[in-house]
Each structure stands twice: as C-alpha cells, then as structure tokens.
Amino acid sequence: MKSLLYSILIFIFTLNLSSQDKDMLRWAADAESGAPYVFQDPRIPTKLIGFEVDIINAISKELGIENKHFQNQWDGLIPGLKRNDYDLAINGLEITEDRKKEVAFSIPYYITFQQIVVRTDSKDIEDLNGLEDKNVGTLKGSLAERILKEHGNITVKTYDSEASSYEDLKNNRLDAVLIDEPVAKYYAGWNPALKLTGEPIGEVVYGIVMRKQDTLLQTRINTAITKLITSGKLREILEQWDMWNYMVALYLDDKTVSNIKPVKYEAFLESRKTELSFDDYVERYIGYLPILGEAAITTIVLSVLSMILAIVLGLIIALTRVYAPRPLSFLATTYIEVIRGTPLLIQLFFIYYALPSIGINMDPFSAAILGLGLNYSAYEAENYRAGLFSVPRGQMEAAVSLGMSRRQALKHIIIPQAIRLVIPPVTNDFISLLKDTSLVSVIAMAELTKRYLELSATYYDYIGTGIIVAIIYLIIGLPFVKLSKYLEKRYSLDNNTKSF
C-alpha cells in the first residue's frame, strides 16, 4: 500500500517537471470560447483555429519563435497567468481599468461593440431602452453585463458560454442577448431563428494580457503587433474572418478599401449550413474520437489516482478517528467535517490558485488529483467508519482473547470484514468521483466534460455530442463496477476458497 502511494507521488512529480520550454510563446485561451476567437476546426477537431490563433501565429512569426497553446477556463485565464502556467492570454479579454490593476495589456488588437440579438419574430426591441423589463442574457463578467446593469430596469441573466445564452433565446427563456459583435455575428448571424438588431452599443477593446512584471515580453508583443498593423497582416486576418469594422478602421487610421475575401468566415458559414447526412454524422463523431479518447484517458487516470489516494488516506483517517487517542481523533473528525462540508470547487480553486501564494505551486494534474483525492478521502473515511462499526464488538473481543494485539485484530479480523461492507458505497463514490472530475476543468485540465463543451461550441451539436460523451462515461465506469462485483464475491462470507 505504501509503495503504491510513493509511486503515485513520483508519477505526479515527474509530470510536474515536463513543460517549461525556453523562449516560446506560452499562450492561453479557452477553446470553449468559440468562433471566431479560438475554437476547434470543424473539419479537424484536434486543431484550434480562430482569428486570435491567427494573430498569435503571426506574432510568433514576427518574433521568430514557436508558440504553444494552454487550455484554461475563461474565468481562470488571468489567475493562471499569475500562477506562471503560461505567459500570455488572448481570448477576447476587454481592456478595463479593473483588469489593468491586476495585469498588463498589450496595445489593442481589435475593437468592437456590443450587439443586441433577438428572435427573428421580435419587433419592439431596437436599442437599450427597448430592453427594459425584459430578460436579457449576456456573458458573465463582460462589459455588456455592466452596461445592462448600469442602465437599470433590465433583468440580466449571465452565462458561462455564449452558446447557451442563444439556446435560451431561441427557447423563449430570454427576450434578447447583448454580446460582443463578433460573437453575435458568428453565433446568431447565420441562424434563421435569430437576428441582429439596433445600433452598436459601447466600445469593446481587446488586448493581450501579460504579467505586469514581464516588461520585456510586453515590449516584444507590442512591437510585433505594431508590425502586424503596419504590414497589413492584422487587417488581412480581420478581413479573412470578416471582422473589419469602422471602429478598427478608425483606430488603425486605415480608410482604404480592401479586396481581401472573407474566406475564413465563409468556410465557417459553410460548416454551419450544410445539411448533414447520417454518414456525415458518423464521420464527424469518428473525428471526435482522438480528442475524446485522450480526454477519456485523462479522466480515467485522474479518477483512478485520486481514488487510490482517497482510499488509502480515508482508511488512515477512519482508523485515526476511531482508534487513536483524543487529540488525533479530534483532528481526524475536524478534517472530515471541514473537507466534507465545503464545496469541492472551492477546494480545487484553493489548491490551485491560493496555495501558490504560500509557495506551493502545483501543476493542474497534481492539483486535480490532490483536490479530488483529499475531498473523497473524507467520504471514504466515513464509509470505513460505518464499516468498522458494523463489525460486531464481539469480533474484537474474540480476537483479543485469543491473544491478538489490537493491531493484529484490526488487520486480520476487523478490517477484512469492514472491507466487505464498504465495497458497495466505495464503488458508488468512485462512479461519483469519475463524474466529479468534470469540475477540474476549472483548473486548466482538459477532461471529458470540458472537451464536450468545446466540441459543442464548435458544432452546436449538444445532443449528439452529449450522448457520445455520456456513453463514454458509462463505459469507463463499467469495468470498475465489474471489479467491485468481483471484490464483493472475493470477500463474500460464503466463499471458502481462501486459505493460508
């Protein structure tokens, strides 16, 4: 048991050492943020595309260095940057005074506005005033949210992903969505059920985010962006994505007419409009397999390692709580209550984002295992305690009166009987943990649920992708259910095959 624990720790620490390459643009964006920012190429889901990907590629070409993408939840982009997980983030991050206190921004690479989107049959909404007394959706933490709240008299509903806000709009749960124009264009512009309406609202300026102390990097990035502007490369990218607008033209002081074709926008529309046959669907889902397979392996490894940690730690805690002298047993009880009584999500955030401030800096994978393992160890400890209590008191007395020490009695008599009793609840917890791994996407882990959200954001296919991912979870769980059935049999009191 001990050596197993050590090998897990060693495994975790070796993983830790991998990713610190020299002079490389380590950039982060949330692939779930969707078109036209950063999203999976509908033809090759393992490849990321988007106008921000193009900008990063152009910048690294200017600088003559490679670049590498780091996945992180949109909310976590800035905390991750501060943790040194990567050196810059580009993902439609608006330059605001609040953010400027925390991080440094490059010069703007795009300027746009807020756009109202309504259902095609909607008539009365033309501007902000028209939104009064309506249900309006927008992205959490966005400029639009602030505009809506400052206007007043509007019921604001915030979303993590733009796709779900449009779904709600389509399904009459919202009356309108106010969102950055590129999002509106790429999500609603082509959709016959929705339309863009009203005048541009506000001004949204995107910049690349860097750590304040990385002044050299800031200079290099700004120089590179300036070159992209003067060489016309930035305009080329924006034109290809059909994102050139009068605000950018004003900002870049470029009033010329371009004949660059919006090829990438058209390619995107093409991928939206085509009616898919059954074979196309099959082909698409097969295309998912590499990315989902990889995510499934991440999910399995995460679940198994954290469950092993939880089982071993849980046993120690349960034995401490039940058998150790008072101060120790009190500590174990406190541990259980604190861990069990606080949300896993907050524990993960704490381990990943708060611990670095006291010098404990873990990579996402170790943090995920530690977070899940610690959390579930509290539940396992209680399972074991229930198991220990259900072994009749006479068993310990019988063992002791045969001359066994308490330790021997625990090892040979009590724990084997308790194990039998706790196999079903522990299996239960494992299945539950398997699904709880979806929470670790908040600390930059790309596991199954995260990939599901990304793929759905790319294809707008929540049902098909959802069914596939659900089936994968089910399939992953089955071998462990089998294992638990085997163990139940192995520890069954009717099974007399085991002997010395």
């Binding site: 002791v400 009191l493 099974n495 007399n496 085991k498 002997s499």
Partner: protein, 281 residues
C-alpha cells in the same frame, strides 16, 4: 489442600464501572481440573468476573493469579476511574476495553497479555470470524500470535476439531454452521492456544434447546480430560449435573460456594435460597 493444586487464585478483586461498584472483593480458588459453575441474577457481576480473568476488563483492585502469572493492583482506583469515565463518555467509541488497556503502563500490559494467554474464552454470542473458514478460524491465532508453522497447526487443529466432533466441517464457512456447531468450533479455537483454564460466558444461552447438549458434551469431555473450566451459566441443569463446584454470586459478592448436590439441596444463605426458590428448584 495443597496450594500448588490451585490453578486460579483470586483475592479481594474489585471492579468499578464509573460510580457503580460491580465486584466487591471477590475471593475464589479453583483447583486444577475442576469445572466451576457461577450462577446468580443478571447484573450480579458474574460475567464481569469472568471478563476480569481474561483481562477484557482490567481489575481496579486486588490480585488475580492464574498458573504462574500474577496480576495485582492496589487502590489507585480514583485516578484510574477518572481516566476511564473520560473515555467512556466519548460516545460511539467501540472496543472500549482495549482502549482502557491502552491507558495502563507497559509492564502491567505485558502481564495482562501473559495472563490472557493462560485462558481461553468462549462468548455468549457466536464469535467465529465470519471471513475465515472453520480451519482458518482455528489456526489464525497460533499463526499470527505465536508464529506457528501453518502445516503443524493444521494437524493440531484437525485433532481439536475431532475432539469437538467437527472434523468433517473444516472447509465450511461460519455462516454455514448451526449455533451448536459454531460454539464447538469456538471451543476448539480457544483450545488451539493451549490455555490452562477455559472460561465460558453463558455458552449455550444463544442456542436452540436441541443444540445445547452437543456443546455441554464437549465441556464434560474436557472435564474428564482434566481441563480447568469456569462457566457462567443460567442453566441450573448444567450447574447441577456437570459441575464440580457451584458458586452463587449476588451484588458483586460470592455468597456461597459448594458442590452442586449440597448447593441445590441445602443452601446455607438466605439469599441463595431466595434465588433458587425464584427459579423453582
């Protein structure tokens, strides 16, 4: 009578649970090969006495001597009681006895452990280890406590099982046995540790009536072989027919002890008479 013949000697044994004084100065000698029955009302302390002999309860005051091991405590009861009640107040803690043991000093613990190896105990409930088959139930303690060779202890175990008439059941799991069979295996299990004295806490009270005799037969057989046995029982038939000496206890004291014919035909103390009258004997 020669004192070398006395294999168990108890002097002025006291035991408290919190504020209640359970054993109030027990003196008892048992000779080698005797079968002693202890009778008395529920709560009179007879089970506690037995458990003190096995150190499942730790005596508070007095001396217990079994074979050549002597366990003695003087009257430091108050301090001890404080500690114990502290532990006992902690609700939900199982196996309290073993924890109580933890509080004792190392030397005393060692002696208690040695004393325990001198006695085998059979409980009222069916306490075979359900996760081991019959044979393993018997050899597990010799193996892990005494580090005995498995093959040898298997042979020994089979002999013991033959003695209790269970040699055909070595592969069975405990939950496949009747209550009487389980108690016979439990006797064999205790005998496997070569005890000098066997203690029984109401060994047949959990059994169906038709299964009682097979257990009693094992005990009388052992008596013939010269095993010293102390039996707490509610069965007057057993006390009358099987034992050499009957001990009557009341309120933590030994009131009377005599051979069964004398005890049941001519009890001397009024308390004994009342008890036997109550049972309509």
């Amino acid at each position: 009578m020669n004192s070398e013949n006395k294999i168990v000697q108890i002097r002025n044994l006291h035991k408290y649970f919190g504020d209640s004084h359970i054993l109030r100065g027990i003196d008892l000698d048992v000779e080698k090969g005797q079968l002693i029955s202890i009778i008395g009302r529920s709560g009179c302390g007879k089970t506690t006495l037995l458990r003190c002999l096995n150190c499942l309860e730790i005596l508070d005051e007095g001396t217990i001597k079994i074979d050549d091991i002597e366990l003695s405590r003087t009257k430091d009861r108050k301090e001890f009681e404080k500690k114990v009640s502290k532990i006992r107040n902690k609700v939900g803690m199982p196996f309290i006895n073993s924890i109580e043991e933890n509080k004792l000093d190392q030397d005393f613990k060692l002696k208690a452990h040695k004393l325990r190896t001198k006695v085998g105990m059979l409980f009222q409930g069916l306490n075979l280890f359900p996760n081991y088959n019959v044979l393993d139930n018997i050899i597990i303690a010799p193996k892990i406590v005494q580090g005995k060779d498995v093959e040898n202890s298997k042979l020994h175990a089979i002999k013991l099982l033959a003695k209790v008439g269970m040699e055909d059941f070595i592969d069975r799991m405990p939950n496949q046995l009747s209550g009487g069979q389980a108690q016979r295996v439990a006797i064999a299990r205790a005998l496997a540790m070569n005890p000098k004295v066997m203690l029984y806490d109401e060994p047949t009270s959990a059994l169906d009536p038709e299964l009682v005799d097979e257990v009693i037969k094992v005990m009388t057989d052992l008596n013939k072989e010269g095993m010293t046995q102390i039996v707490v029982t509610h069965s007057m038939n057993f006390a009358k027919n099987a034992s050499d000496i009957v001990v009557f206890m009341d309120k933590g004291e030994i009131i009377e002890m005599a051979p069964p014919e004398e005890m049941f035909s001519n009890p001397k103390d009024s308390r004994t008479r009342d008890y036997l009258k109550l049972l309509a004997i």
